[in-house]
Symmetry: C2
Subunit: 279 residues, 2 copies
């Protein structure tokens, strides 16, 4: 399916793409907004075409409209235009060329420095700043904001992909973008028009009973659900990536060796150096 | 403005509600999806009315359609129906009655236990599990998922509010929901129809130049932007909460004393006890 293909006309079709025809959840309400959300795919190849004027500002308005814990607004976003900075980040992120290629590359930051400056300027001590909780609030708020930007971008016919590998070397990102202490680039986001030939199917997910529970966590059905999903993902990867790898194989490849973390096993120490004591 | 009021007809109106008429960002593309995102307000009072059949499943389908790092799907969600469990969580969250009141209460969990079980069952060691990075991926993925559920809910005319105070006592949440090691309730989410009389205006945010940077972080304009926003928030709180408190005053009230953390200053130790070594 081409990324520019129209979205499935019905809930059943959209849910079948996401879960497989045998694992469609109970029928519920549906509308164009939900169809848009269901149609998400990450895209890793972009045309160089510039975005319409004001797109960045619209995406950021969507992002700032997301909830933020106690309205603390502990995040910032940096649009990276400089080709040299992009190239350096692409390299650090394991040679992800789309970071250089996409017309808009955003670095979403956990940012408690604004609040810290406020405290300094007002002569107020803010003893909560050094806590893990405060970093976590900032990272979660950045994620809520970024996801709203993703939804807005996709509603405009744009494609996106998150770049978690920006955490391979957060100190480099800090240096490149001049981030003050108390700011950390949590992830990147490529935004642009999908390149021709970069097709991407909706990726199936685990069936709902594997992730949704009622009152009590219950993994009793998990082995059967995982086996069914393994078969689906092997089929998906055969169609799209020419190697029939199951989900279990992929999880083991990703989580089964520290080298697969690309340096992110050092994140706790790096964060402390960047002004997040994680107390 | 009543929560059930129609959304502003134009981008300019919606942006003026979010930023104030003097701080509207550059005009950009616009559509109904973006208007929906801009119209978000958190709502803290709900009618008891049940949701249409299948609403939960639709919200979870939207949630699962969000990006997830390397498709690891390190999150779960628990729908809490049991009134006693809800009452206990409401109390621990500083007596937030809407947790008991809303027709749907969801606990979004960072969950690496599914991957851990997979490794055990397949006889594969997963040495990446104990790292801070892995917890952070799980928390961010839970946030991306939840935000999609929020957008889906609001598209259906429902209201929501995130409950960060679920982290006041994560061990209690673990006990109430029977969460295994490697699972942590990161935040709650109330979903339902706004109660009559629970009006809520779109809350203004910092002007874009305070949070959006180009190539380099630059806080030079921040004091003026903060002063302008302080005035806007004092006006907003006077209209909505009958106490004209500026943003700076609120940040200091929230971040200026450890007691305002409601126990979340212990989060690092609590997470370690729940199976996240945060290495």
């Amino acid at each position: 399916m081409d990324i520019s293909a129209p979205r499935p006309a019905t809930a059943q079709e959209a849910l079948a793409l996401r879960y497989g025809a045998d694992a469609i959840p109970a029928a519920g309400p549906w509308n164009d907004h939900i169809a848009l959300l269901l149609s998400h795919r990450s895209v890793r190849g972009y045309r160089p075409d510039a975005l319409p004027k004001g797109t960045l500002e619209t995406l950021v308005a969507a992002a700032q409209s997301a909830a933020t814990s106690s309205n603390l607004q502990t995040w910032s976003v940096v649009a990276v235009h400089d080709p040299a900075a992009r190239a350096a980040m692409a390299k650090a992120a394991g040679n992800q060329k789309h970071i250089e290629q996409c017309p808009l590359f955003l670095v979403w930051c956990a940012d408690v420095s604004r609040n810290a400056r406020l405290g300094q300027e007002e002569g107020a001590e803010l003893p909560t700043l050094p806590y893990l909780e405060t970093f976590l609030v900032a990272a979660i708020d950045a994620a809520l904001a970024a996801q709203n930007a993703v939804v807005a971008a996709e509603s405009l016919g744009l494609s996106t992909v998150y770049i978690g590998a920006l955490r391979n070397d957060p100190a480099l990102v800090t240096e490149l973008l001049g981030l003050p202490p108390g700011v950390m680039g949590v992830f990147g986001l490529c935004v642009g028009y999908a390149a021709p030939g970069v097709t991407s199917e909706v990726k199936p997910r685990l069936a709902q009973p594997a992730v949704l529970f009622h009152d009590r966590y219950d993994a009793a059905g998990e082995p059967a659900l995982r086996a069914a999903y393994d078969a689906k993902m092997a089929e998906f990867s055969r169609r799209n990536e020419m190697a029939a790898t199951s989900w279990s194989q992929r999880v083991i490849a990703r989580m089964g060796k520290l080298t697969a973390m690309g340096g992110r096993d050092k994140l706790a120490d790096v964060l402390r150096a960047l002004g997040f004591p994680l107390r």
